[in-house]
């Protein structure tokens, strides 16, 4: 009897995550055009804000060091590891005195506001719920691998991902063959748009949002 119970428990433990995965399928995500995805990315890049003195400190971390100065005017939603705040939510939290952005070396800080790489891509792809349910390791749930070549056939709004590491939104090819991308960058401390070369994406795979409205 106890063996049966144990077996049932084990099966339940293994099956438990399955309903969660099924909730993440593309049919539950909104239809998005490429123009909508890029427009969303631009709102993160172009968002202007001022860092107040209260946004320099993180009440939940003693080690926290801000990337900004008091009174500094900034363009771009700040990078916050584990963050998934929309521009509206960011403004609200900033006004409440939360810290502007943070990095993994401080842990996931509930007392900071901003967005990280996977939070940014999944938000612009049409994340259906609040929170940070998609990371680089499960972004495949809502993004399929395009059949075409990554070096000629990516389209604006596709992504380049390295599971466990980083993800960016592809914006287009340049005449010289380099690419333009949007990314929530820890090094730049915010969401940025820039030109870059392919060698920085060695080992990445292309992903296309499953519910894209072509």
């Amino acid at each position: 009897m106890s063996k049966t119970l144990a077996l049932v428990l084990v099966i339940l433990i293994f099956l438990a995550p399955m309903p969660l995965d099924s909730q993440l399928d593309a049919s539950r995500l909104p239809l998005k055009t490429r123009a909508e995805i890029i427009a969303c990315a631009k709102t993160f890049v172009e968002h202007k804000w001022t860092c107040e003195r209260t946004n320099l400190n993180a009440s939940c971390s003693r080690r926290y060091k801000s990337d900004w100065n008091a009174g500094q005017q900034v363009q771009g939603i700040p990078y916050r590891w584990g963050g998934a705040d929309s521009p509206e939510m960011f403004d609200k939290k900033l006004a409440q005195g939360l810290a502007a952005g943070s990095h993994s070396r401080y842990g996931v800080l509930s007392c900071a506001t901003g967005i990280d790489c996977s939070g940014f891509v999944s938000f612009c792809w049409g994340r259906s719920r609040s929170g940070h349910e998609f990371g680089t390791t499960n972004l495949r749930t809502i993004g399929g691998k395009p059949k075409d070549n990554w070096f000629t056939d990516l389209k604006p709004g596709d992504a380049l991902v390295k599971p466990g590491s980083h993800v960016v939104l592809f914006a287009g090819y340049n005449p010289d063959g380099t690419i333009n991308i949007y990314e929530a960058s820890g090094g730049a401390a915010r969401v940025i748009f820039h030109r870059t070369t392919w060698s920085r994406f060695k080992g990445y795979i292309p992903l296309r949002y499953k519910n894209i409205d072509e």
């Binding site: 900034v74 990095h103 993994s104 842990g107 680089t136 005449p175 063959g177 820890g186 030109r195 392919w198």
Partner: protein, 280 residues
């Protein structure tokens, strides 16, 4: 009859010779080009800023460069830009310490310029003047010898020399000066496709240095990088093909050409490597 056979034979020989010539034209180009091996590499140790560690900004570690480990879904951060002074000393952006660090040509720490912000790109202009880009704004500052920055220009894309990818095997870099000739790129390597072209520099003698990216395709992004030197009349002179791309910290600006030497920045797992190829 015999004359007919001889004529056909002669025609076939001509056709074969022509086909051979055309087919090997690109190979002749790469066959005549001198491939250069790495002449030197400099190693500058990192101090790793691990999550929840104590402040690393003290003591002897100031002779090193600071790197963060990153985490799941966060890339490591650290030195992403560098340049080379007239005497061969290295200027390296050390963003996590909000400073620029100067190392001698052998990689020994010399001094720091505490600029007070994180920089991700540094450029040494005429007379060893320093220009840096602030990482979190994109603004460009001039920095004096004491490390004091003064704003030069607001964020904007730095001007680059125009290059154009024309096909999977060819491209062009615009002429630099009136009267100069555009650099015609021909890239024929079996199984590889040309991906991108970047004009890196033109030296005082008018030689052009160009970086090329190529791929053998595949489902995962896989890239090889080459740097070539072209003479003022557009002839391919040298090629470098052993450029390592195993970046731990993703560089913003990975190449510099100074006095005919190509410098390549490779932030590896535990140290910064500056690789050198003498293209003189």
């Amino acid at each position: 009859m015999l004359r007919g056979i001889l004529l056909i034979f002669a025609l076939l020989s001509c056709a074969l010779s022509l086909a051979y010539h055309l087919a090997l034209q690109p190979d002749r180009e790469s066959g005549s080009v001198r491939t250069i091996a790495r002449s030197r590499d400099i190693h500058i140790p990192f101090t790793i800023l691990a999550a929840l560690n104590k402040d690393e900004n003290t003591g002897k570690s100031l002779d090193t460069l600071l790197v963060s480990e990153g985490g799941s879904d966060e890339l490591p951060e650290g030195p992403a830009g560098f340049d080379v002074f007239e005497d061969g000393s290295l200027l390296i952006a050390d963003p996590l310490r909000q400073r620029l660090a100067v190392f001698d040509p052998k990689g020994k720490f010399v001094r720091a310029l505490n600029i007070g912000f994180a920089a991700d790109e540094v450029t040494i202009t005429a007379h060893d003047a320093i220009q840096v880009r602030q990482a979190n704004t994109g603004d460009v500052y001039a920095v004096d010898q004491t490390g004091r920055p003064s704003l030069k220009q607001r964020a904007q894309e730095l001007e680059t020399r125009k290059a154009q990818l024309l096909s999977a095997t060819s491209g062009e870099v615009e002429k630099r000066t009136p009267g100069g000739v555009p650099v015609k790129i021909t890239f024929n390597k079996p199984g590889l496709r040309l991906l991108s072209i970047e004009a890196l520099a033109t030296d005082d003698e008018g030689n052009s240095y160009v970086a090329l990216e190529a791929t053998a395709s595949g489902a995962v992004v896989d890239v090889r990088k080459y740097v070539r030197k072209y003479s003022p009349d557009g002839k391919l002179v040298y090629e470098i093909s052993d450029i390592p791309l195993d970046y731990y910290v993703r560089p913003v600006d990975e190449f510099r050409v100074r006095k005919g030497v190509l410098y390549h920045m490779l932030p590896a797992r535990s140290e910064l490597q500056i690789n050198e190829w003498d293209m003189k």
